[in-house]
Symmetry: C2
């Protein structure tokens, strides 16, 4: 059903982890410059993915991991009967494609929510290199483990939180990650629709919209379509921790 969709590929151009401003967020975290040079040898190309296009789709052969260099992605899985679920949103410095390692096929779609660029990391070469560089090996393991832990957090959210708590947790997570990337965290532009937020949070888009309106009424947020300003981050935090209940 998911016919492999042609993805626009710009002419590959040379990139270097060692000179990338994301190196402290991304795969090269904590590596020496010699180690990074080795990594540069295998992370040789970038790929541009226009807004709305898929970087990969469920069912396609897995060959590489991808590091988001610029832009924003969602990943989503779907069941046979057509229901689908957004499993995550990825921003600069985050890895895509870990799902494909287990079966050598991707198990989800990765779709760009704005014009984006990724670094292509051929996985078998990465495995080879990580047998030589134990720092790289360890970091790869940590990244995969953290993805598992993140997923557990989402399960907790989906299994036990009510609508407003879910949205609050989502916003806190987003602002947190933006702050790590040098943004203020109190002002943000959502790159996804209400429906995509809802899919991620296990809610319908109307419920997401109502929750936004509620937060605005309560003076916690200022909401103008996709432009969000966080007025009371503490209140958001209280919502998540349930202290406010």
């Amino acid at each position: 059903m998911n016919a492999p969709q042609p993805v626009i590929r710009l002419e590959p151009f040379k990139v270097a982890c060692s000179s990338c401003n994301l190196r402290e967020l991304c795969l090269p975290l904590g590596m020496s410059s010699e180690q990074m040079d080795r990594l540069d040898d295998i992370v040789a190309t970038r790929r541009a993915v226009p807004r709305g296009e898929a970087l990969f789709r469920a069912g396609e052969a897995f060959t590489s991991l991808y590091a988001v260099r610029t832009g924003f992605f969602k990943t989503c899985v779907s069941s046979e009967d057509g229901r689908d679920q957004v499993t995550g949103f990825q921003m600069a410095g985050e890895l895509l494609g870990l799902d494909g390692i287990g079966t050598d096929r991707h198990t989800c779609d990765a779709v760009a929510l704005e014009d984006s660029q990724v670094c292509v990391i051929p996985f078998h070469q990465l495995e080879d290199l990580s047998r030589e560089l134990s720092d790289l090996q360890r970091h790869l393991h940590k990244i995969m483990s953290r993805e598992i832990v993140r997923d557990h957090g989402v399960m907790l959210l989906l299994g036990s939180m009510r609508a407003e708590e879910r949205l609050a947790a989502f916003l806190l997570n987003l602002t947190q990650r933006l702050r790590t990337r040098g943004f203020s965290g109190s002002e943000l532009i959502l790159r996804m629709t209400r429906e995509e937020i809802g899919s991620y949070l296990g809610l319908k888009l109307e419920t997401v919209s109502r929750a936004f309106s509620k937060f605005q009424e309560d003076g916690i947020l200022e909401v103008k379509q996709r432009h969000i300003r966080v007025l009371d981050a503490e209140a958001l935090g209280r919502l998540v921790n349930g202290t406010a209940c």
Copy 2:
């Protein structure tokens, strides 16, 4: 808050992956006998965990992975405000502890639901060995990736299925895994309470109970407390795929 709880530890005794009847399900899958000997060098001890005790708890230092040898476990995470969520059930041949790699601390509790034994796999030694044995390295990566994919499946379940579908999916998954281990799959004894099933599925225990009763009325299951007999596996499958809606 989670004080490290003493876990009963039997005197370690020698074990061997190479002679383990789970080797085709577990970490040694697909390895040669020389490779397995190397693995045996580091997987040197077992540990017994009585029913109700924790193998590890959130916050404890991470040192090892554990392979379930006999018995049955649940893993659960909890939020600051005390809500908790069962994130998985593990049976023979499955690995526990992957969550701890990312931060060197466990992020969930692993609790035995019956008297159990695990093989202790010191993680740093496993990393060392997997730098030598690419088959082992690759298999470890596959195991972690599959855990991520499994988690995505649970998200889909929690985010978009209704109560009976969730229970049906859960039962199919259980019987599937039991069949892999040589059991019939049409008859099973649940090792967990209705409440634990509910936590995993994002439902209250009463809802789980009602769903069981409904399946019994419909002739899909025979339910006697924790003894379940699957009378109509196809109907269960239809429920999950939504064809029945």
